[in-house]
Symmetry: C2
Subunit: 491 residues, 2 copies
């Protein structure tokens, strides 16, 4: 229980790793770098999926499914793309096992070697653009607004649950357009959808911005990002949307006849968020007692724990509890009545704190006499006595307030951790002390960016959409600059 959970102030990284496992979100599997997402964690991911899917459909997108495997030759067609992914690919080379001739067990059947190796998709641009070639002839076939929910594999050497795993779950949107303008608008629209989702559904404030050239997706002309800030002062890239220009259309020869009868290459975008958001969720809101979940994402929003001695007391409480449950369910509020007799109330309290259930109702014989319950908020750890008559209305109201309050708290923290600095000493002092985003002038070169990264591990998280035109000099090189960008150490 929380007693055994490392404190954030002691070791933030250890706190995170322990919490993900203890709260039953996920665990490492016996397969190197691959995780098992446990039912409680998956239930949260399902809520993320459902809301994102709704938002994608509302903006005109449809789902489809493309192959897991990508022939090596496809992969090589877009030069910068293969450079970006070749070093971390799972490669399928054979299609059969057999019994070893010496009886030593099961071995790969060398007679079943593939003529061309298959890559387990790290992302699907290449296989999808190979398909779009068949779907697009005329401007009437455009736009294609397709999303895919899928698993992908990137062979990371150092892995952490949700944040960096060899296999992860995600969605990848892949759209095709007749004009550059339309593709740019789509890529920006999806950055907006992601920001909306992060802030209004996950209660996680984000900064919208553009990536620098060296931080762009492999194959993109522009990468739009949303950047969140974790409680340890490190940034986390929570979603990206890419304007791909005509790179993939050219690599896969996808052309269309325009209204004017001209043959032109198609314009592309792609955009994705992944189970990484689960890590961001944990690190944005949780505390030393365990998970804190915004009500929108809580698999159980309210738990009722009876406090009783003997069957008779339990029965009286159960009747009332079931009545409350029915009322809450009719309002669309998810509720669990934990009447297990194999665990004590104190154990249950700690358990639901660890799992981040937003509201806990405790009901004992005294409450039954008084027509009250004890209502506890997970986020503030405060308790109040509430009259049973107004309980459901109180809960409805509180769930909204908790959602809002979590967002405001995270936003206050984030806002107080954007620090303007104007020289490199301050840069280093803030980075290694207070942490968070550092707003500083930069000369616009990859050279400077890389030097700063080498010296401090800080990267440019983004050029914020809402930057202010301002004369200044680069915090590192002293060269002239017209705007501040955001640096941070990042996950």
């Amino acid at each position: 229980m929380s007693k055994n959970l490392t404190k954030r102030s002691e070791d933030y990284s250890k706190w995170y790793n322990e919490l993900v496992v203890k709260a039953d979100l996920a665990e490492m599997s016996g397969v190197r770098g691959c995780m098992v997402i446990k039912p409680y964690g998956y239930a949260i991911w399902e809520k993320m999926q459902a809301e994102l899917d709704r938002m994608f459909k509302e903006t005109g997108h449809e789902n489809a499914y493309f192959p897991l495997f990508i022939p090596k030759s496809y992969f090589s067609k877009e030069a910068s793309h293969v450079d970006g992914f070749a070093k971390e690919c799972a490669v399928v080379t054979h299609y059969r096992l057999k019994n070893a001739e010496d009886g030593s067990g099961i071995v790969v059947d060398e007679d079943a070697k593939l003529e061309e190796e298959l890559i387990v998709r790290p992302t699907s641009e290449t296989i999808i653009w190979d398909t779009y070639r068949k779907w697009v002839q005329s401007y009437r076939d455009l736009p294609i607004l397709v999303n895919q929910w899928a698993n992908v594999v990137r062979w990371e050497m150092r892995t952490r649950l949700f944040l960096r795993t060899a296999e992860f779950l995600w969605q990848e949107g892949h759209t095709a357009h007749a004009t550059k303008q339309e593709a740019l608008a789509e890529a920006k629209q999806m950055q907006g959808v992601y920001a909306d989702f992060a802030e209004n559904f996950m209660a996680m404030p984000v900064i919208k911005g553009t990536k620098t050239e060296s931080e762009r997706f492999a194959g993109a002309l522009e990468t739009y990002t949303i950047e969140a800030l974790m409680q340890d002062g490190k940034a986390l890239q929570a979603g990206t949307s890419h304007f791909l220009g005509q790179n993939f259309a050219k690599a896969f020869d996808v052309k269309f006849t325009s209204k004017e009868g001209k043959l032109e290459y198609v314009w592309a975008t792609s955009w994705g968020v992944s189970t990484r958001l689960m890590g961001a969720l944990v690190m944005t809101h949780s505390d030393d007692k365990g998970l804190v979940l915004p009500p929108n994402l809580a698999p159980i929003q309210v738990v009722i724990v009876p406090i009783y001695k003997g069957e008779e007391q339990l029965e009286t409480i159960s009747i009332k509890a079931k009545q409350i449950m029915a009322e809450l369910k009719s309002k669309g509020i998810s509720v669990k009545f934990d009447d297990r007799d194999t665990y004590k109330p104190g154990w249950k309290f700690a358990q639901y704190e660890l799992k981040g259930v937003p509201l806990r109702i405790a009901m004992g014989p005294r409450d039954m006499e008084n027509g009250t319950v004890e209502l506890a908020r997970r986020d503030t750890l405060t308790k109040e006595t509430v009259n049973q008559d107004v309980l459901v209305a109180t809960i409805e109201d509180l769930l909204g307030k908790i959602q809002e309050s979590l967002f405001n708290k995270a936003k206050d923290y984030r806002n107080s951790h954007i620090t303007e600095v104007d020289n490199f000493d301050d840069f280093k002092t803030v980075l290694n002390g207070k942490g968070g985003f550092i707003s500083a002038h930069w000369d616009g070169t990859s050279e400077t960016e890389n030097k700063i990264k080498d010296l401090t591990k800080a990267t440019i998280r983004c050029i914020p959409n809402e930057y202010i035109e301002e004369e200044g000099v680069c915090v590192f090189s002293g060269k002239p600059s017209t705007k501040r960008v955001l640096f941070a150490k990042a996950y």
Copy 2:
């Protein structure tokens, strides 16, 4: 359009292959044996998923996610399991690509060879039971009722869209129980859930039964199946639920302490349905004009096609159409208004017939004068003139009737294609003539079963749950038998 669609009577197999592609359900990808599920096909699959997921949760199951990759050594732990799947496995042997030293392109980096090969999951019993070992100590940890939505890979040599593809999408339930009785009850319950889904949601009648030993899942003690009948008289296994006994618990050492304090092995089930159901759906209801979809599964339930000359007529019709759409949507009915001016009404009619939209409304200037519309049913291809005042009520009513009527039609066909035969000549005559299920006595031996299969290609689809105790002699061997089983050629 349907003009170009091969007739079922000409070549059923060709009809199916063409229809799946022309109706935009799926197509083969550039990757051997792997399909692309197109947005229209995927929208149908999503409806299947949503309903199944609801049914699983209603019966107490939760979703989780397990790794795509299975170490070869796990795979080998359950002997009959590895025998069943070893010959059709995609094997990952390397984790990196590199530029060839001779500049010839991208090649596998031989320095990045895995110590142990990884199998792309063909099914997840082994990786899941390796995980359950960590989840189970006491009887209080049981049952585990978990389902996974996932992609799996089986390296089939001969592939067909939806029916047999190297990669397919499915759900796999994996449950763990304290007693044999409970595991058996679970496996049978899920067979019931599948049958309910097939009949009441897909309008596809099925026979519930048990597989013979030689048709069982690799590693199962019993396999319960639902068997459907396609319009060409061939059977299709639409879903299976397996009682796995303690085989996987023993292979992966999963034990629990019982209430009585004894250490015992856990009992297991697994059960699954896949995108194969999409093939079953197509072949159960569709006709020579294209798809016929039960309203429950139709992405578009009603389409409105305006028939007009000039902007003014279109505008009058549009106002009415949008009013009808709003009313239909408020009843939860999905509706599309196709006012594209790039296609003629006749083209649109054929298109929506091909795509199986259950109801089509046509509205022209004459209809506007008379306050009527023309309403066409896809399943019966009949048309009627309906007063606009009663249109929405009529549609609501008709959608229910179509769903029912499709089921009854398929059931009549199925029932008239179960033929009792009592000698092997009749067996062959029915099999190669009328087709369908053959109800015949069988002596209970795999030897006879295999001989019949070799001679006729017919397999025992199942021993029906509702068999009748009856003295008889085996249709092949003449040995005594106590019940009839169902034979058929099958997909």
